[in-house]
Amino acid sequence: MDKVLEVDRLSKVYGPGCPSCFELTGPEFNTNICPVCGSVVAAHDVSFDLYKGEILGIMGESGSGKSTAVKCLYFDQAPSSGRAVFFDESKQHDLFDLNAAQQRNLANHRFGMVYQNPHLGLNFDISAGGNIAERLLMYGVSNYADIRSRATGLLSRTEVLPERMDELPKNFSGGMQQRVQIAKALATNPPLLFLDEVTTGLDLSVQAAILDLILEIQQERDTAMIVVTHDLGVIRLLAGRTLVMKYGRVIESGLTDQILEDPQHAYTQRLVSSAL
């Protein structure tokens, strides 16, 4: 199988940091705040591989560092240490060694990001079609008719009525906004997609439809995805493999079925048994 992403000991510390930061935080200490210097260890020692067409779930409670890990990979934040290699066709990119321009270029062309809050992923001052056009224009498409037809195609693929593509996203329901966001993320047909709590806050039927859509896209385009969620249902439905995080550390990782059927760590056991 083709590897898409290799993450090696990724760490992110907010604050000055000290030698005992990593020794005195984590699930054993029930905290991610260093008692010596007060720094917050948002994520530490996160390592995983991701393969083509695979969906990796990152699960954990709020503040467990799951979003931080993804934000570092999408260059929204700079990690404190660690390495990540992105395998793009024949090329390899050492993500954190790239300069800011190269990082933005990669994020714009080869990655896609869908945020929990559509305000982060969409520009609410321009139409839904314009949002998709922006990404295509960044990609270098300079033909208006081409942009129109590709935006229409993407929106109908994500089940947004193409007749509404010239409306502002604020006129849309939450689910529709999320679909537009997914369409925008898919515009450049990226090999890697990050989904940060995409279904949180949507009602159940809409959630199911969005999850279906994500699965279909994965089947169709063989896109590798990292799904961040605190929802066990989402993990069960989407992810082939899962990492469970707590207080910034990965406490358990493996096949999703295995983790949900036979959790090893006490925290995961509690999480699974408490799920309705």
């Binding site: 800011a100 314009g130 922006e134 300079s142 208006y144």
Partner: protein, 302 residues
């Protein structure tokens, strides 16, 4: 009065700084070079950027032309010309485009093609074309640095979606030398093609925003557009499909201003460039036009 000021009003260090920034601007076509815009004895926004460029570049015995919206006689042009005459002893002023060494202009580039030995300074209110789409200057600098103008193109896209065409009438974003996009000051679209491969050096000075930028001679200047929705200039054809002519000189190739005749209430069109209009009026072609017009009026009256 003039004895109390150095030549060109600004002190030599100030002029030198402007010239240094100008050189940098020429070396980096389209890049907005910051400079320490001095306090001038007029409000910022009244052409202080262009004025500082003119004062720094004008030499004794050189000839200056000042235009405001195509006219040498409107308030802004007259006052700036008076000020420069007062503070630069020994310079000549003219209204004739041909005679000028340096032309300071607001909102127009003369109709007559400029020569290599001429220089045009444009007054700029808003130097950054990205200001419409990105409020933070820090982020705009990054966008310029990476030549990422996708958001401006999105604006054009939205225009076409809403109005079926690009509706920017002036300050049309233009890409210089395949990299930086500039705000070419509030010149009409009509003047934008004149930036392309211009023989004369074109300088832009923004006094309030403290920026200088340039389109050097023989440099590519390409208005932003889509492959299938090209840039176009103003269209002066009337309902019958005929190109409107200047009411005064009869020219059918110039940029026209629209007036309402105060007596008849009719729309009247006239050359915006007054020097061009005068020149055309005195040329052979127009003498014919004037005589036919006079004749037709006679027949109407008769």
């Amino acid at each position: 009065m003039s004895a109390s000021y150095p030549f060109g009003f600004l002190d030599e260090y100030a002029k030198k700084e402007v010239r240094r920034s100008t050189l940098k601007a020429v070396a980096l076509p389209g890049y907005q070079v910051p400079y320490s815009s001095r306090e001038m004895p007029m409000g910022r926004g009244f052409g202080t950027g262009g004025l500082q460029l003119t004062l720094s570049l004008l030499g004794e015995s050189e000839t200056l032309k000042v235009i405001d919206q195509g006219s040498d006689d409107s308030v802004n042009a007259v006052n700036l010309r008076n000020f420069i005459e007062m503070t630069c002893e020994g310079i000549n002023t003219t209204t004739n485009t041909d005679e000028a060494d340096l032309i300071q202009s607001r909102h127009r580039i003369p109709e007559k093609p400029l020569r290599e030995d001429q220089l045009i300074v444009l007054q700029v209110p808003y130097p950054d074309p990205l200001v419409l789409v990105e409020p933070s200057e820090d982020k705009r600098k990054i966008l310029h640095g990476e030549a990422d103008y996708s958001r401006l193109l999105v604006k054009l896209y939205e225009d076409i979606v809403k109005f079926d065409e690009i509706t920017i009438s002036h300050r049309y974003p233009t890409r210089i030398n395949d990299y930086y996009v500039i705000d070419p000051s509030p010149i009409p679209r009509w003047d934008v093609p004149k930036l392309h491969q211009s023989r004369a050096l074109i300088l832009f000075g923004a006094g309030r925003e403290k920026k200088i930028y340039a389109v050097p001679p023989y440099t590519k200047a390409e208005p932003l557009a889509f492959e299938d929705v090209p840039f176009r200039v103003e269209d002066f054809t009337d309902v019958s499909g005929k190109r409107r002519a200047c009411n005064r000189c009869g020219c059918t190739t110039s940029f026209l201003d629209e007036f309402i005749d105060s007596k008849t209430g009719e729309k009247v069109y006239q050359c915006s460039d007054s020097d061009w209009c005068n020149g055309y009026l005195n040329s052979d072609e127009t003498n014919n036009y004037a005589s036919t017009k006079a004749m037709s009026q006679e027949t109407e009256n008769g």
